[in-house]
Symmetry: C2
Subunit: 210 residues, 2 copies
């Protein structure tokens, strides 16, 4: 029962497989081979098999995997068969966009309350109530919230993150372009748009001469 450590790149690929498998299922397919998944997503087939293996999925030579079972394995592995409640802090453009988007519920997360300065409280965006940030800690305790989402400006990110951890938050999904300094047991994932802009800019520059 010694669980091998799962490489982060593997975890990042799993949602891509899931997405593709669900589409294939909708198209009426019942089984699928790792090779086909690999080709569709431009990944080495041997890599796909290794990734599948982490989730405990088993295939049958010459036939492949039952799509249903494979989907279930991946979802269970990611814990996407349960929905975990989350709080969001920073109801600006991006925060509002996340609140208005319901797609995350299929990916194990549901934003159940949002927070910002008192002037913004009382609103309801996409069915989610906005509260003054002073209520954060108390509500985290009461609702046993584990995930915090930061969509505030970079200047406030550290302060908010510290407040979140203080309140009992265990994992932070950070959209602010700022390195967060937190105890190492806190799970932090950054969505960094600037890093991909850097790649685009640099490659375009190379492609078209300086």
């Amino acid at each position: 029962m010694e669980a091998k450590k799962v490489p982060a790149p593997t975890l990042r690929r799993l949602p891509k497989y899931l997405n593709y498998l669900k589409r294939m299922k909708e198209n009426g397919n019942v089984t699928i081979s790792a090779s086909k998944v690999a080709e569709a997503l431009d990944i080495q087939h041997t890599q796909v098999r290794k990734d599948f293996a982490y989730t405990g999925a088993e295939g049958v030579p010459k036939i492949g995997h039952q799509i249903d079972e494979l989907i279930r394995c991946i979802e269970t592995f990611l814990n996407w068969d349960n929905v975990t409640d989350a709080f969001l802090v920073g109801v600006g453009h991006l925060g509002g966009a996340l609140l208005g988007y319901n797609g995350f519920q299929e990916s194990g997360i549901k934003i159940v309350a949002a927070f910002d300065i008192p002037e913004k409280s009382g609103r309801n965006i996409g069915g989610v109530e906005v509260y003054g940030v002073e209520k954060f800690k108390q509500m985290v305790g009461r609702m046993k919230i584990k995930i915090g989402i930061i969509t505030a400006p970079a200047d406030h990110a550290q302060e908010i993150a510290t407040m979140m951890v203080d309140s009992g938050i265990q994992a932070i999904w950070n959209f602010a372009p700022r390195k967060l300094d937190l105890p190492e047991e806190v799970i932090v994932e950054n969505v960094d748009m600037y890093s991909s802009l850097a790649l685009i800019s640099h490659r375009l520059k190379k492609k078209f001469g300086k």
Copy 2:
């Protein structure tokens, strides 16, 4: 003059350095050592030095780097000292958020027009006009646009991407969770929120037992 190929991880770190350096400059610092940058951002100092070296920046033993010069080197290297115009397709929650956000201009990109179905055209969001998508190709040609941003639903992403490349777009910044099938000379960068959600979910599950 043989330019070594720059690792993608290096390119992704450069904006983080830039961000930190600009803050240090605002705080009144004139010089900075790679070691200090490394510590602040939790990166090995030797890694920071290698990354800096790619940009052509040179430091002085015992003193470090001139912050101004370092910033300039990184910006030039990324081509962030020029602003490249971009078109966005898909004015939903996320698209609207990007339009309302002006911070990208400091990162070499400016959204100058948005596109969606005709019913959404005519609006103005964050100072950017929304057009019917049928005008895309003509306007790309006229305005010599190179960068396309996809913030449409996943179902339409491939179709839009193909249309973009058809129109002459050279680089695509894709926010839709769908693998795009395009000629390999087209530069594609995906912003994949689900991949980071996968990491959070899986780590939380491990931390709190299944």
